[in-house]
């Protein structure tokens, strides 16, 4: 079953709720290895997205995602603003004109998003960033797609892989972002951006499966 425009809108609304509920949690994660604002930033951004959403809710998925991207760029600030903003913009381009997304579309769209993040942030997997949650997630979805397990299975596996990737950031030594200033002391803490990435993919599986 493909993901529809309505699914997308439901997902984005749900992400706003989930990020709001996890505002303090994400901010706490950002304290020991950052500047204690990731939850605040994401919550501010998606509040703005929710206000914008109605104006585009009946457009195609690409337009919706591009609007989310520009809104995040305009409201989040910090490192995560341009990164998630770019991600949604690239995803929107990949999905432009579409009103339904099949398994293959989802994978292509998320690959484009990840490429956008890596290009903007000059980051690779293994640097203790959101990239470490998204990379395994997309790999798992790609595999799931080849195995034709269906949309809900695909999204669930992506979410689970993102969670594993997020947890895998704990022992990592950060070499990008604020956490990198800590050197050795960044080890032992979970990356807040990887956590918000997992929350978005988990919500995708929960709402579109």
């Amino acid at each position: 079953m493909p993901i529809t425009t309505e699914d997308m809108v439901r997902w984005i609304n749900q992400v706003a709720i989930v990020l709001h509920d996890n505002r303090d949690y994400l901010t706490q994660l950002d304290s020991p290895i950052g500047d204690a604002d990731h939850g605040i930033n994401m919550d501010r951004g998606f509040k703005a997205v929710i206000e914008k959403l109605p104006t585009v809710a009946n457009m195609d998925i690409g337009s919706i995602l591009k609007t989310v991207g520009t809104t995040l760029v305009s409201t989040v600030g910090g490192a995560s603003g341009p990164l998630y903003g770019t991600a949604f913009l690239r995803a929107g381009m990949a999905a432009s004109g579409k009103n339904e997304l099949y398994e293959g579309d989802v994978v292509l769209m998320l690959e484009a998003a990840l490429e956008g993040i890596k290009a903007r942030g000059k980051a690779q997997a293994g640097e203790k960033t959101m990239v470490d949650a998204l990379t395994p997630a997309i790999a798992a979805m790609k595999e799931a797609e080849q195995q034709n397990v269906g949309m809900s299975q695909l999204l669930r596996r992506g979410s689970d892989a993102a969670e594993a990737g997020m947890k895998a950031t704990i022992p990592m030594l950060a070499t990008k972002g604020r956490a990198s200033y800590l050197g050795e002391r960044s080890i032992g803490h979970q990356d807040p951006g990887a956590t918000s990435s997992w929350l978005m993919l988990k919500t995708l599986a929960d709402t579109c499966a």
Partner: protein, 333 residues
């Protein structure tokens, strides 16, 4: 959390309204885009200088908008870099036809947002040059990090480059001087206490009563190490020595010595540190030719200080001495 604010949500705009109300002759605030603009901007034919960053470091940057320094500043949420929209609005507001210099402190967030803003401005047909300050020697092996953070040198750079810009120099010349200032300046800070981000409501980090953080960042980022409290003489040594070595300051050279308070430390303590710094420099036969003492780049109410040393030559000294009139820095006019 004990703060003189109305609410965490309104602290930044309330403070901007306060600046607007008390310095109408120097600045005006574009609240829609959250930009502090120099009164009378844009100045025809003058390179526009803009900077920006998270709030909570006052007076940087808004307090440095005015004649001889910045043409506009973009304050973000507390400790969160501003967004490209603000930077684009500021760039447009100060473009007097000679192009605009973006002064960016090296933090991933600031760099990425200014990058996007520069792309948008150039799409707009405005010539933009960027300089990234990265003077914090607390960050080691910066090959494996996001690179050294931009701290105290940013303040000195904005003043010196602002002095040159008033002379009608070209964007290329202004950008070149900016890079020169960054090349010859280094900083390092320390914290006695944490700070509390209003929206977070509790201290960013825990610091025992008998410990201090050496090499702390201006957002409370942990530094090189935590050590037991020590006399000001030893603390100053811990900050000054890495700076002097990294700058490889030689006997006979002249510097601008900047002793900065983090926000919660009173001036009497900064002068105690200044005295220790003067002794250290004297012992190395380095001359303090210019100085700045006070809280100019802060971390909310954090107690602590930072030291910045800038190697001076006649050019830098001339533009440091040039007239400046901003809410926070003023002389010669």
């Amino acid at each position: 959390m004990k703060k003189l604010i109305n609410s965490p949500e309104s602290v930044v705009t309330d403070a901007l309204s306060g600046m607007q109300a008390l310095h109408p002759e120097l600045i005006h605030v574009d609240f829609e885009n959250q930009v502090i603009v120099r009164a009378g901007a844009p100045v025809r034919g003058k390179v526009g200088l803009i900077s920006g960053g998270g709030s909570g470091h006052e007076p940087m940057h808004g307090g440095f908008v005015g004649h001889g320094m910045l043409d506009a500043a973009c304050p973000g949420a507390v400790f969160t870099s501003p967004v490209p929209d603000q930077m684009l609005a500021a760039t447009r507001a100060v473009n007097g036809g000679a192009g605009v210099l973006h002064i960016v402190k090296n933090y991933t967030g600031d760099v990425l947002n200014f990058e996007m803003a520069a792309e948008l401005a150039e799409a707009d047909g405005i010539e933009v040059a960027s300089v990234v300050t990265n003077d914090d020697v607390a960050v080691q092996d910066s090959l494996y990090t996001a690179g050294r953070r931009g701290v105290g040198v940013t303040v000195l750079l904005e003043k010196i480059v602002g002095g040159l810009a008033e002379t009608g120099a070209s964007l290329a010349q202004v950008a070149e001087l900016a890079r020169k200032v960054n090349t010859h300046g280094r900083s390092m800070g320390m914290a006695l206490t944490s700070c509390t981000v209003p929206a977070a409501g509790k201290p960013t980090f825990e610091l025992p009563d008998d410990e201090m953080e050496i090499g702390v960042g201006i957002h409370g980022e942990p530094g090189r190490r935590r050590v037991k409290l020590a006399p000001a003489s030893e603390v100053t040594e811990m900050l000054a020595t890495p700076i002097i070595e990294d700058l490889s300051l030689k006997a006979g050279e002249r510097v601008l010595a900047f002793v900065n308070g983090m926000g919660g430390t009173p001036l009497i303590e900064l002068y105690v540190v200044a005295n220790e710094l003067a002794k250290i420099l004297k012992s190395r036969d380095v001359t303090i030719a210019r100085s700045l003492v006070g809280s100019y780049i802060t971390s909310l109410e954090m107690a602590g200080c930072s030291i910045t040393l800038l190697r001076l030559d006649d050019e830098l000294t001339r533009y440091w001495d040039a007239p400046v009139r901003t809410p926070a820095l003023r002389w010669g006019m």
